[in-house]
């Protein structure tokens, strides 16, 4: 089945038309722009709920400004935040598509450059040592393109998540020992949120990776941020942990923009991988209150459905 639920024979490979990569380029361009203008509905709902429940006047005022900024961006088709971030894409390839991976990467890179020049907006990407800015939001290994695969047959899912530095600079990896147990994992997550404090533009979405290798653990923390706010891990134990941690984090008192209040995070999302018998790694990657992400399903025939 494809993302629209249409039946597609599982064994039939689909040879893509020449125009498919042009569509990918256009979609990459549009997603990078739209992700920065249109805050996902689940994030809006979470901010509205937070405003209803927030008891501290200063925190309420900050939440109101955030909601006002979102509405103003809708009204005037503006970027919500000035930070255009590091461009990150997840391409999830349907099993029936005969895809040229190199052309796919080139199309996403061109789309990223075009978004930057055609909108136009700021290129936030520089070389790490020389601090050279090509003014294209691109450079060596950026955009960061993840390639994944799905059982769905005939579409390519493209998820775009620009990551601003306020939140990305607040990233933590702890290589705990098995004897540190689940308590050690919980402590590392809470300590990370407290250490991040005001910097990541709270209320944040807290992405948590547990297990895997060191790099996989951080990857999982970022992957967790691609989920809709308030969704739960399918594993009931992890889902319960998400709820418990959110409740505790919101009792720290950090509050919106770190100026105090009941709303420090909108959600905690956990993703896990099996790990080594001697390892117990945990990573935290935060997302700012905009919870930016945009998604598209590009079908083999070149038609596109947009989502979040």
């Amino acid at each position: 089945m494809d993302s629209r639920g249409r039946a597609v024979p599982a064994t039939q490979p689909i040879v893509l038309e020449e125009g498919f990569y042009g569509v990918v380029e256009q979609v990459a361009r549009d997603l990078y722009i739209e992700a920065q203008k249109d805050v996902p509905p689940d994030v809006r709902a979470a901010l509205s709920k937070a405003l209803e429940e927030e008891s501290v006047p200063r925190a309420r005022a900050a939440l109101k400004v955030m909601i006002q900024a979102i509405e103003l961006a809708d009204e005037k088709s503006m970027l919500v935040c000035q930070d255009t971030g590091l461009p990150i894409f997840w391409l999830t390839i349907g099993r029936g598509l005969c895809v040229d991976g190199t052309r796919l990467q080139q199309a996403v890179r061109r789309g990223t450059e075009r978004a930057t020049k055609e909108h136009p907006f700021r290129s936030s990407v520089v070389s790490p040592l020389g601090r050279e800015n090509l003014q294209t939001s691109c450079g060596r290994r950026i955009p960061y393109i993840h390639m994944e695969f799905t059982d769905r047959h005939s579409d390519l899912e493209a998820l775009m998540m620009p990551k601003g530095s306020g939140s990305e600079n607040m990233t933590f990896l702890k290589m705990l020992a098995p004897a540190d147990g689940i308590e050690g994992v919980k402590k590392a997550i809470l300590d990370s949120v407290i250490q991040a404090g005001a910097n990541p533009c709270p209320p944040t979405v807290v992405g948590v990776g547990i297990g895997g290798t060191a790099d996989q653990c951080v990857y999982l923390a970022k992957l967790a941020l691609t989920r809709p706010v308030g969704s739960h891990n399918a594993d009931p134990a992890l889902a319960a942990l998400e709820d418990q941690l959110l409740s505790v984090i919101n009792q720290t008192g950090i509050g919106p923009m770190g100026l105090g209040g009941d709303t420090t995070s909108l959600a905690v999302h956990i993703e896990e991988a099996y790990t080594h018998i001697t390892m117990n790694p945990v990573a935290v990657n935060l997302q700012c209150w905009r919870g930016v992400r945009r998604r598209a399903y590009i079908h083999a025939d070149g038609t596109v459905d947009y989502g979040y």
């Binding site: 503006m78 935040c81 000035q82 700021r122 600079n169 809470l190 005001a198 910097n199 009792q251 008192g253």
Partner: protein, 198 residues
């Protein structure tokens, strides 16, 4: 908690009348700076092309479009201040900066410097750049364009805000107060999570 509408740059009297928790809206000139601008000024010792004396600074790096030879705002917001914390001292000592607008706050050391020199830190709602962009009257001048987008920006605002006075000129620091409260909560939260504490 008073609300003020003030003209920027701020007078020393105006800065000294502000108390932590007050809400401020600014009209007038604000200079946009950030990492690369400050590194050039103070690490590479390049004299800025204009005087910063008594100025209001904004930690920013705008999105702009160039229309003929003028820059028009696309989206101009605020960046995390803490990265630029070590520049508070030279900014206050050399240029007598009266106000720094940013997000996330500055260190305790910076707060003490602000008390000594008569300056304040005004916290903006980070990420709400769409709102703050509509409060810009115009981009007056842009210097050091080679650092784009981290140039030295001369921005004119009509009603930039709401800004929360987070560090005032008497040394009060709202971030420090929140941090203290968070530290007081920490042990109780550990217990709730079943974390044994010494």
């Amino acid at each position: 908690m008073a609300e003020y509408h003030l003209q920027s740059p701020l007078s020393l009297d105006a800065v000294c009348s502000l108390k932590v928790g007050d809400s401020v809206f600014l009209d007038g000139t604000v200079l946009g700076i950030r990492d690369a601008t400050l590194i050039r000024m103070f690490d590479q010792n390049v004299e800025p092309p204009i005087s910063l004396l008594g100025a209001t600074l904004l930690h920013t790096a705008p999105n702009v479009s160039k229309v003929k030879d003028r820059y028009e705002p696309v989206c101009i917001g605020t960046t995390t201040s803490m990265r630029m914390d070590r520049f508070t001292e030279p900014l206050l000592e050399r240029w007598h900066i009266r106000a720094i607008i940013g997000k996330g706050g500055l260190s305790h050391a910076s707060a003490r410097l602000m008390q000594r020199h008569g300056a304040c830190y005004l916290a903006i709602v980070g990420g709400a750049a769409s709102l703050q962009t509509t409060q810009i009257d115009r981009i007056e001048q842009v210097y050091w364009e080679d650092l784009m987008p981290e140039c030295l920006w001369v921005l004119c605002y009509a009603g930039l805000g709401p800004l929360t006075v987070a560090i005032d000129a008497t040394g009060n620091n709202l971030y420090a107060e929140v941090e203290k409260q968070v530290e007081m909560n920490r042990q109780r939260l550990y217990q709730m999570l079943g974390i044994s504490v010494e």
